[in-house]
């Protein structure tokens, strides 16, 4: 049974549907990927699942653990186990890393914070008291974000381009974290343009122009990367696409 279901979701910006009758299922203990060109609706879908400001008005339904998320505010969704890691994590001037991680941690002990940092390859002795602000590099900040997610022990993890800004050595820590979530029964949803990240997933969804264009095992969706969206020659140009996709 799916832990998270997207049921015929339509979201509009003005008249334009940015999510167009999406229906999808995400299972516990599985890693899923959302792929598609820029503007396909991947981040919009993640923000809608999280219930962020400006992403709460939609048609259809999002069902989590058998209950509708309509009207459920973002912090309540998080307390129920859903969380999101942004492509560009926010910077918090002066806020120590340990306090940031502890803020959402299921177990806010020092040990748990240190374990989370170690899991993403950051030495707690070096990073625990550093500020979670611009003094961290983009990659360091991203790894702190993943550490915060690990400490939170969520049931649904939305990760928007988890490899952006991450160096080649550190990416393995991110991949380890993804697999750790999976092994602990979480539903992982990766938004990616990267083949190595896609390969962390078992199932993938191909979005274009707010519509679900394809889904299946990643071996099938990988062609999207290999063949430059062979299924659609005119991504994000719906007027030209009429007939080709409909």
């Amino acid at each position: 049974m799916a832990l998270l279901e997207i049921r015929d979701v339509v979201m509009r910006l003005g008249e334009t549907p940015v999510l167009n009758h999406l229906t999808m299922e995400f299972w516990a203990g599985h890693v899923h990927a959302l792929v598609g060109p820029n503007g396909a609706g991947k981040s919009t879908l993640a923000n809608t699942i999280m219930g962020l400001f400006g992403y709460t008005a939609f048609e259809g339904d999002i069902v989590y653990d058998g209950e509708s998320l309509k009207g459920v505010p973002v912090d309540e969704r998080a307390r129920r186990g859903i969380t999101l890691a942004w492509q560009e994590p926010a910077r918090f001037q002066g806020l120590p890393v340990h306090k940031y991680i502890r803020a959402g941690a299921k177990d806010p002990s020092d040990d748990r914070v240190d374990q989370a940092l170690l899991k993403v390859g950051l030495d707690p002795r070096t990073y625990r008291d550093r500020a979670c602000d611009r003094t961290l590099s983009g990659g360091e900040r991203k790894r702190v974000e993943i550490a915060a997610l690990l400490a939170m022990e969520p049931r649904v993890v939305l990760m928007d381009e988890p490899d952006s800004g991450i160096d080649i050595q550190a990416i393995n820590h991110i991949f380890d974290a993804i697999q750790f979530f999976k092994q602990n029964g979480a539903t992982v949803i990766l938004i990616t343009h990267s083949l190595p990240v896609l390969q962390q997933a078992e199932h993938a969804f191909l979005l274009c122009n707010g519509r679900l264009r394809d889904k299946g095992p990643i071996s099938k969706i990988e062609n999207y990367f290999a063949e430059n969206c062979i299924m659609c020659a005119t991504p994000n140009e719906p007027e030209k696409r009429q007939g080709a996709w409909q």
Binding site: V74, D75, A78, G94, A103
Partner: protein, 314 residues
Amino acid sequence: MAMTLVDQHDIDAIWQSIGMAGHKHEDDVVKITVSGNRVIGAHLLPGVEVDADEKPDGVAVNFRILDEAFIAKPIQLCFGVMPETGMQHIELNLNIGENSRASVVAHCTFPNAVDVVHRMDAAINVGRGACYSYFERHVHGPAGGVTVVPKAKIHLGADARFKTEFELIKGRVGVMDIDYEAECEAGSVIELIARIIGAGDDRVKINETAHLRGERSRAFLQSYLALKHDAFAEVYNTVTAHADGAKGHVDCKEIVQGRAVARAVPMVDVRHPGAHVTHEAAIGSVDSKQLQTLLARGLDEEAATDLIIEGMLG
């Protein structure tokens, strides 16, 4: 020094009010405790001289760090008014000798205040090549009830460094009117930093000015405030630059919630083509992305906002 003999209990009570109960006496730490208009405790070291005169409404203190003196551990000062009402007027004459090094942590505690006035009129001279920092932490009660009026005239000799940090992030402000003005000679560096949380009907006014008179002198004025309820704050930070290579920056950030009102007026006055002064001011609610990030970790809006402010002011 005129010092009133008091029970050790009085000294302990005032340190306890700032969360330093059981604060052990350390032979190598300069420590001075002023309660109301009485100097109730003083421990000095070579290189530090203090003369204090009790006055009807406060105390006049001549504080000297001698030339070339190096005071390894921060000097601990505690100014407090423990009763609900009272007036404490500190006249401070501070002379930091040439090429000396010292830092001060000043605790100002008014935990039971209903109607307390704390005034400081300071003349601070930081001698040539000296390095001096002054960190002033205020501990107020939950009801405000304090009027804090610190005023300082500061002079920095050539190549001197002076950093002052003013912090009031626990308890209510009451009324605060900070007025610092500094004259900076060649190669000197001054940092004036204030971090304040205002709530209820607190009123905060910060007026800080640095005049960069000498070549290569530098100034950094930073005011970070977080206001909620009906609090009001106005910040006037000014840097004037008069010499080649003088550099300054004015930075004001204010977070406002509820019906709070904030005003920031950074002023830059450059009178030499070789000088460079910048400013920035940002007033508004907490950053939406920061807020949503913490909401997505399960914090409610109030807890998330408090954490963002704690980071900014901490």
